[in-house]
C-alpha cells in the first residue's frame, strides 16, 4: 500500500471518528434490524427448524448478518456519490492519483473506523442472545478469514452503485435499491436455503451471497473445510472481477463529465 493510499484511508478514518453520532447510528441501524429479525424468526421457528436452521443457529446467522451489514454500510459511499453529483469529480481528474484506488483507500478507512463498534455490538449480541457456537475452531478461523473479503467486496459494490450517479441526479434511490439487493441476495432477509432452486442458483451466482450466507455457512458447518476454502476462493475471484468491472465502467462513464466555465 502506497503512502498516498494510507493518507486517504487515515483522513476518512479520522473524519468518521470525529462524527461520533454517525458512528453510533451505523451500529444502531444494524441493531434495530437484528432485533426485528430475532423477533420474527423466534416466532417462525419456535422449537422447530426451517431450511436446516434451528433457533440457536438462526441467532448466529442473524448476528453474522448484523456484523457484515454494519461493516458494509460504514464506508464513504455518500461522499463518493456527492463528488460526482456536484461535479467535484472534475477536480479529482486533475489529481495525480488513480480515482478508483483513492476512493477504495477512503472506503477502507471508513470501514476500519466502524470495526471497533461493530465488534462491540457483535460481542454484546453474542452475550445477550447466546447463539450457536462455531462448529469447530478451524471453522471459526475460516469464518473470520471469509469476513475479511467483505472489505473489497463492499467497496466494489458501493463504487459500482455510486457510478450510477453519472446518469442519475440523486443517490438516495440507488442507495436503497443497492441495500435491498444486498439484503435479499445475501440471505439477510431470508436464508438462501429457503428459496426455490432457481433463485438459490441465481443468488449463488451473485457476489451478495458472501455478505451473510458464506460466513454463516462456514461458521455453522453447513459446508466442510474444502467447501469453506472453495467459497473463500470465490470471494477472492469476485473481489478482483468487480474491481476490473468498476474500472471498465468508470472509464466509459467519466466521459459524461462536462466542465462548464471559462
Amino acid at each position: 500500500m502506497a503512502s498516498v493510499d494510507l493518507a486517504y484511508a487515515t483522513i476518512t478514518f479520522k473524519r468518521k471518528i470525529a462524527y461520533k453520532s454517525t458512528w453510533l447510528f451505523t451500529v444502531l441501524f444494524g441493531g434495530f434490524s437484528l432485533m426485528a429479525g430475532l423477533a420474527v424468526w423466534s416466532n417462525l421457528l419456535g422449537d422447530g427448524e426451517l431450511g436446516g436452521y434451528d433457533w440457536d443457529a438462526m441467532k448466529a446467522y442473524l448476528i453474522i448478518g448484523f456484523l457484515t451489514s454494519t461493516l458494509a454500510w460504514s464506508g464513504s459511499d455518500w461522499e463518493m456519490a456527492n463528488r460526482i453529483l456536484d461535479g467535484h469529480v472534475a477536480i479529482d481528474l486533475t489529481k495525480p492519483v488513480d480515482f478508483q484506488r483513492a476512493r477504495a483507500a477512503e472506503y477502507m478507512g471508513g470501514m476500519a473506523a466502524t470495526v471497533p463498534s461493530a465488534i462491540i455490538g457483535t460481542a454484546a449480541a453474542i452475550l445477550i442472545f447466546q447463539p450457536a457456537s462455531p462448529v469447530s475452531p478451524l471453522a471459526a478461523v475460516l469464518t473470520a478469514f471469509s469476513l475479511l473479503f467483505i472489505f473489497p467486496l463492499a467497496f466494489a459494490i458501493n463504487f459500482l452503485a455510486v457510478l450510477s450517479c453519472f446518469v442519475t441526479q440523486r443517490f438516495l434511490g440507488i442507495q436503497w435499491a443497492r441495500d435491498c439487493l444486498l439484503a435479499f441476495f445475501s440471505g439477510l432477509m431470508i436464508p438462501i436455503a429457503l428459496m426455490p432452486g432457481w433463485l438459490q442458483t441465481l443468488a449463488w451466482c451473485l457476489p451478495f451471497v458472501h455478505f451473510t450466507t458464506t460466513p454463516a455457512s462456514i461458521y455453522l458447518g453447513r459446508v466442510d473445510t474444502a467447501g469453506a476454502l472453495g467459497l473463500i476462493a470465490v470471494e477472492a475471484v469476485w473481489a478482483v472481477a468487480l474491481w476490473i468491472l468498476a474500472r471498465v465502467l468508470w472509464s466509459r462513464l467519466v466521459r459524461k463529465v462536462t466542465i462548464h466555465g471559462g
Binding site: 434495530f32 416466532n43 434511490g173 435499491a177 433463485l199
Partner: protein, 261 residues
C-alpha cells in the same frame, strides 16, 4: 393556504418538467424503485412457501402490509424528497435564499427535488395493493376505507420524514441520520405484524411515533385483525403528524443561523 398550495403545485410541476429532460435518469430511478419492492414481494413469496402464516397473518394480508409501506416510501420521494437535503442546506447556509422568498420554507424545501424512484415504488406498490386486496377477499364495499388508507399513508409518511429531517437544524451534519434511522426501523418492523414485537414497540409505534398508522392499522382493520374503531386513529394521526412536522420545522428555522465565515 391557496397561495401555499399554488406554490407547492407549481414547484412540483416544474420538477416534473425537468424530469422529462433526463429520461435515462427517470428510467434508472423508477426501475430501482420497482426492484426493491419486487424483492420485498419475493421475500414474502419465499417466506410463505415455508410457513403458513406469520402471527396469524396470511400471505395476501402481508402483501397488503408491504404494499402500503412501498406506497408510503414512494410518496415521500414524489411529494417531499427535498426535505432530505435540509441537513446539507443548513450546513452550507443555503436556506438564506429560501427565507427571503414569499412562501413557506418547508414547502420550498420539499419541492427542491423529486425522487424518481417514487414513480416505481408507488406504481409497484399499487399493483401489490390490488393483488393483496383481491387475494385477501376484500370487496368493493371496503374501497372507501382503502382510499382513506392510501391518502393517510402518504400524508403521515411525508410528515414524519419532514419531522425527522428537521432534527438537522439542531444536530448539524450533512446526513439526515434520524430520518434514515426512522426509515430503517420502519422497514425492519412494520413490514411484519405488530403482534410479533414486545409491548414497548407497539406503544411507541401506535402512540409516540405513529408509524403503525402508515400501514399496519389500516390493513389490520380491513382484514379484521383489529376493531374498526382503530380506523379513526388513521386520519387523526395524519393531522397530528402534519401539525408536529410544521411546528418542529418552524422551530428549527428559528434556530437556523446561516453559515459562518
Amino acid at each position: 393556504m391557496r397561495h401555499v398550495g399554488g406554490v407547492y403545485r407549481r414547484a412540483l410541476v416544474a420538477q416534473i418538467r425537468s424530469i422529462t429532460e433526463y429520461p435515462a435518469d427517470f428510467w434508472v430511478m423508477a426501475s430501482a424503485g420497482v426492484m426493491w419492492n419486487l424483492l420485498q414481494f419475493a421475500f414474502l413469496t419465499v417466506l410463505f412457501n415455508a410457513v403458513p402464516d406469520v402471527a396469524g397473518w396470511d400471505y395476501h394480508e402481508m402483501v397488503l402490509l408491504s404494499s402500503l409501506l412501498a406506497i408510503a416510501g414512494g410518496s415521500t420521494a414524489l411529494f417531499c424528497d427535498g426535505v432530505w437535503s435540509t441537513g446539507q442546506m443548513v450546513l452550507k447556509g443555503e436556506i438564506d435564499y429560501r427565507i427571503t422568498r414569499p412562501a413557506p420554507v418547508v414547502v420550498q424545501m420539499a419541492t427542491t427535488h423529486i425522487g424518481m424512484q417514487g414513480f416505481g415504488e408507488v406504481g409497484f406498490g399499487l399493483v401489490m395493493f390490488v393483488y393483496g386486496w383481491i387475494g385477501a377477499g376484500l370487496g368493493l364495499a371496503a374501497v372507501p376505507v382503502g382510499v382513506l388508507a392510501l391518502v393517510c399513508t402518504a400524508v403521515i409518511e411525508c410528515a414524519l420524514v419532514t419531522l425527522f429531517c428537521s432534527v438537522n437544524f439542531w444536530l448539524k451534519g450533512p446526513m439526515s441520520n434520524f430520518a434514515f434511522m426512522f426509515i430503517d426501523l420502519q422497514n425492519s418492523a412494520m413490514s411484519m405484524p405488530l403482534g410479533l414485537f414486545p409491548i414497548g414497540v407497539k406503544l411507541v409505534t401506535l402512540f409516540v411515533v405513529p408509524v403503525a398508522f402508515v400501514n399496519f392499522v389500516p390493513i389490520a382493520v380491513l382484514t379484521g385483525h383489529m376493531s374498526g374503531w382503530w380506523l379513526i386513529g388513521t386520519p387523526v394521526a395524519a393531522v397530528l403528524a402534519v401539525f408536529a412536522a410544521t411546528v418542529v420545522y418552524r422551530f428549527g428555522l428559528r434556530s437556523y443561523d446561516s453559515a459562518g465565515n
